[in-house]
Symmetry: C2
Subunit: 325 residues, 2 copies
């Protein structure tokens, strides 16, 4: 299974998927459009959260950073009157340095991530969506700013006039991401879009050259139905809506969806993603497309495990249905 991941909702699900699936069946592709050089090193918030989750190090009270990390450097910077945009823990910073030193040596982000997986003893495959720099930029009445400045620096308060992915036109999907999708098409392996922000977490992954086409290949036009043209191989895409009761559980998804002209609803999520065969929505949803209703709120590890089990079951059933078609 290929999981497209942002930073909070999807990693929560990964906690469960890691227990349900053998490691060899899990490939996680993380959004990197939140990435930012902070204090001399590349912080990759979504990639880091995925790595820390799979390594069993994630701070589960915040869903960023490392459990029981100290903040000596960050706190002393504050004492010096310097505002470090992200609160980087000391161990977290070591990971950023490790990655950035490899990049400075000339390695790609994919190669650096592979090395990080190795030293953090992560067996699942974790891939950045691209090796090229892409930045989600948010236009506000105070000017355009990086997503992290908008969300962390300004607490997500400014009005959002537009959201764009700077650098996207020159970016290519990571080679291993493309290879994984090609293999998924051959093997009938599904792509799971986790419950992450459809604009700023999943949006950049799908906006990469060729990705949405590849996910829609072999499907009927306007197929919200998940049925394909007979015989032609295609990738089944199952997405978990990040909305519960018509609202995102966390993050700036609502503002961003509106800025892109989509209603903040499951239909809006499906339309925005534009490649979904089956949408998992919360029980009270009025979504009319091909869908399954599940409790998608993950309060603790037990919830993560339950949802992961249900998702895997649905994917298996879908595969059987597909095979019968």
């Amino acid at each position: 299974m290929i999981v497209l991941s942002g930073g909070t909702g999807t990693p929560k699900l990964l906690l469960g998927l890691k227990k349900v699936l053998p490691w060899s069946e899990l490939t996680v592709v993380a959004n990197t459009a939140d990435d930012l050089w902070v204090s001399g090193n590349l912080v990759s918030p979504d990639l880091d959260t995925v790595l820390y989750t799979l390594a069993g190090m994630i701070d589960r009270s915040k869903w960023w950073g490392i459990e029981d990390d100290s903040f000596e450097t960050h706190d002393f910077l504050s004492r010096l009157g310097f505002r470090e945009l992200l609160a980087i823990g000391d161990i977290d910073r070591a990971v950023h340095i490790f990655r950035s030193e490899l990049l400075r040596e000339g390695l790609t982000l994919s190669m650096a991530t592979e090395r990080l997986c190795k030293v953090l003893k992560i067996e699942e495959k974790v891939l950045p969506m691209t090796d090229d720099p892409v930045s989600t930029m948010v236009s506000t009445p105070e000017g355009e700013m990086h997503l992290q400045e908008f969300w962390v620096g300004r607490g997500g308060r400014p009005e959002v006039k537009a959201v764009r992915f700077r650098g996207m036109e020159d970016a290519h999907p990571a080679l291993e991401f493309l290879a994984a999708l090609e293999k998924a098409k051959e093997d009938g392996e599904p792509v799971l879009i986790g419950p992450s922000n459809p604009v700023s977490s999943i949006g950049p992954i799908l906006a990469l050259r060729g990705i949405r086409n590849l996910l829609n290949e072999g499907k009927r036009k306007r197929s919200g139905e998940g049925k394909g043209e007979k015989g032609k191989k295609k990738i089944r895409v199952v997405a978990i809506s990040p909305l519960v009761g018509g609202k995102p559980l966390s993050g700036p998804a609502a503002k961003f969806m509106r800025a892109w002209g989509y209603p903040v609803s499951d239909q809006g999520v499906a339309d925005l993603l534009g490649c979904v065969d089956l949408l998992v929505v919360s029980p009270e949803s009025d979504y009319q497309g091909h869908s399954v209703r599940l409790d998608t709120v993950m309060r603790d590890e037990e919830d993560s495990l339950r949802l992961a089990e249900e998702i895997v079951k649905i994917l298996d059933e879908e595969t059987e249905t597909e095979a019968e078609t």
Copy 2:
């Protein structure tokens, strides 16, 4: 008083000078040819040691780094299998980040150092010798390497074939350093060369364009005697030899002096520096030039204070003698 400083001996003396002199009378110019970008940020070992000493933060057991600092990030990098060339403490790293963020914003090293002095509540003036990048490079049978790689990375073990200052030809002395020297000439203020490595700590400062000439201006040719041409303003230079019993107390001075073709002796130090009016040597020295014999070993703060008092007294007496000439 302008003090030219390297990284261990001179800072030890500064501990005493800081108590003997009012802060407004102390200007410290630090060597920056040891500087190195480590883990994304500029480490300036000699400048840092001077700053930490004057801020009362220096780790006096090692004479680098900050007292009671933790090493969370550095240690975790080791656990990841990454060798960080210098053991950077977490608080120490915050200082490097503070400095490097200012440099990334476009400030000069002088401006960044001024800001650091302010936030560290240092009242004395601390200047980097230059705002331009200069690196002491050591040629060994294993190839040429940065001084830090030679000394910290290889424990100073390789044979030294040559020592050069990379970037020196394009470097200018910091403007404030030049201004301080001009003012010293006007006011009859002395320059004190601390007991630091004459090749790699003091050498780069004196090798900067115009500095040695400025220090020798108005002096008789070959004046080891400290006497000047009548009437002409000149800068009196007093140096403390880093040798005790014909050997440096710490650091690679002996290897470096030999590589430059100088004997490891006080005469060698005086010749190498090439601008000294009075050399302070240890009691057993056989140095024949204009000199004062003092116990220059600083085992603790008391020693630092004693030597500082003696040095200030000598400088005052020299000033009187000069005035009589």
